[in-house]
């Protein structure tokens, strides 16, 4: 990817698991702080269009990004700030895209979560749910044709997106072609305001795996260790040629659908279930229980990411907005085939 994911300074003589966990935690923290920042910019009217957060989904998302390597393909969805950072997307990309900087990867043409670097394996999502999965398949098939082995593709989506025809066609396609696709479904209980009871009627979305011929696994999306283990294992299986993988995570969206939405429709009872805990808090508790980090360390880490985010924002605030007069208004790469209008 564009640069390599945040690595913690060595904390002495740590196990690989501990190192991974620490790295994951700090990426989650960065994602959360960044998301919170976007939320407050949104409230201040500083962002054009919607803001979509990954609050409550950082453990799962970061595990997706960390399960991947350079050269893999990643198709994040709207709640994958953590996974993007873990895969190596620079913070600058997120900030520039949300603020519409002309220097961002989308150059003001597209915004918020619609960003990526397709050539580096980070696909830039279109809005239509389910539509990115077959694109991942295509990238994986191309690699196979080119004789590139050992890379995988990982696509994220929500419970709601599983109802799309595109999801179905793509999963079936991956299975038929035996592609190393890891399909991660974040069942966060809601699709916008729609609860899962109005979205599907199977006992668990994991029941879909057998119908495609996928290997399936389920994970508590609020448990970072579990997410890291499950996602790494799924990616490893795909990498080893054991076919496509479905991972279904259970968690709760701890925010509105977008920041315009107060999520009043989420039952208070649901919010207080153990499965609804905040994965970031849970991992902080875990860090302390394991004595992998104490309160001052956690505070220092937070201060560090806050500073990083503020610096990035300060930089981007000084960047130019796109200029319609400099815009070339060509939709084709073959300019001679573009029609001149007016």
């Amino acid at each position: 990817m564009v640069h390599s994911p945040l690595k913690p300074e060595p904390v002495g003589d740590v196990s690989p698991m501990q190192e991974l966990y620490l790295r994951a935690y700090r990426l989650m923290l960065l994602a959360r702080v960044l998301d919170d920042k976007f939320a407050s910019l949104y409230r201040a009217g500083k962002i054009h269009g919607g803001v979509f957060l990954g609050r409550g989904q950082e453990a799962l998302s970061v595990a997706c990004g960390l399960a991947l390597r350079e050269g893999d393909v990643f198709a994040p969805l709207i709640r994958d700030q953590a996974g993007r950072l873990a895969f190596g997307e620079p913070i600058l990309d997120a900030v520039r895209t949300y603020l519409g900087s002309a220097l961002g990867p989308m150059r003001g043409r597209d915004g918020n979560v619609h960003r990526g670097h397709p050539k580096q394996g980070l696909l830039a999502m279109i809005s239509h749910l389910g539509a990115m999965i077959s694109v991942v398949n295509g990238a994986l098939l191309a690699r196979r044709m080119k004789g590139i082995a050992g890379t995988v593709g990982l696509a994220c989506c929500g419970d709601g997106a599983t109802s799309t025809g595109a999801f179905h066609e793509a999963l079936n396609q991956a299975a038929v072609e035996k592609l190393p696709l890891v399909m991660v479904v974040a069942n966060n209980q809601f699709a916008y305001s729609t609860p899962t009871a109005r979205q599907f009627a199977c006992d668990s979305l994991l029941d879909r795996a057998a119908g495609y011929g996928f290997h399936g696994s389920e994970v508590d999306g609020t448990d970072l260790s579990a997410c890291l283990t499950t996602l790494t294992a799924a990616a490893d299986r795909a990498r080893a040629g054991r076919g496509p993988q479905l991972v279904v995570a259970r968690l709760l969206r701890l925010c509105g659908h977008g920041e315009h939405d107060d999520a009043h429709y989420v039952d208070a009872k649901l919010k207080h279930l153990p499965a609804s805990r905040d994965c970031l808090k849970a991992s902080e508790d875990f860090l302390r229980a394991q004595e992998w980090a104490d309160a001052p360390t956690l505070a220092a880490w937070r201060a560090e990411v806050v500073q990083k985010v503020e610096e990035t924002l300060a930089k981007v605030h000084r960047e130019p907005a796109p200029d319609p007069f400099k815009e070339n208004w060509y939709a084709l790469s073959a300019r001679h085939l573009c029609e001149g209008y007016e």
Binding site: M106, T194, R198, P322, P324
Partner: protein, 321 residues
Amino acid sequence: MSITYLEAIREAQARALNDDPRVFIYGQDVGAFGGAFKATKNLAARFPGRVLDAPISEDAMAGLAVGAAIEGMRPIIEMQFADFSTVAFNQIINQAATLFWRTNVPCPITVRLPCGGTSGGGPFHSQMMEAIYAHYPGLVVMTPATVEDAYSMLLEAVAIDDPVIFCEHKLLYNHLKAEKLPTEALPVGKARIAREGRDLTIVAYSAMVQEALIVADELATEGWEIEVVDLRSVKPLDTDTVMASVARTGRLLCVGEAFPWGGVTAEVIARVACEGFGLLDVPPQRLNAKDTPVPYHPNLWAAHRPTAPRIAAAARKLLRL
């Protein structure tokens, strides 16, 4: 009291639900939540069991509507954004639009499409799709430009025995206001002279009507009298009213917010050129959005779609010919 374009859409649905037990609404988040734009707010509570949340399955939403219509119901389906109707495209143009012609069984469904760009909307939440649907036989395509039409045309859409693509412009939702709901309306298929004039005809529809009216106001200060024709529905397209206007003015500018290849502006100008060639004193002109996806950033978005200044410039050029 005043009522917005969006409220008019809500009231029309409430009235349709109230007056006709065959009407129901189906779409993502339209139930207790009241829809992404609140076009169905409170309707689920007022009409229990008749305003149903759909899974994220636009193809199946449209298919279900056709099946219910066969059984005599009059479903309204809401696409969360017009852009997502691409997923239902097959069911709309091949299933709904062909049903009557093939089987003699009418297909009274209404497909509500929140259309058009808004600041920050970006390529996938901003599209105008009227031209795509109007191309296919078997569909009626409405593009209301006023609060009154949003109300009365939606009621007619539900009453018509054929599939209606109801293109409601998101930019007008809260911005456009009227004093009260209308009690009468022009028949479907009739265009409206939104403003009378004798120097130039601007043909527009949906949100472009408002832009055209701004231009007419502005050019009035320069002494020009601009006639603005609001097409109201783009299929059927009221060629007669357009030609009668061009007969008065001799000059035609057609403005659309869709992509430039094809679309309403091409159809209007082709009809006038073929059927009313002699009415034109000078070459007709058209103005569309640019030939790229709709950009996200407000700076780019504002330059992508035709707005009053660009329309005024085109109008002045035409007037000087």
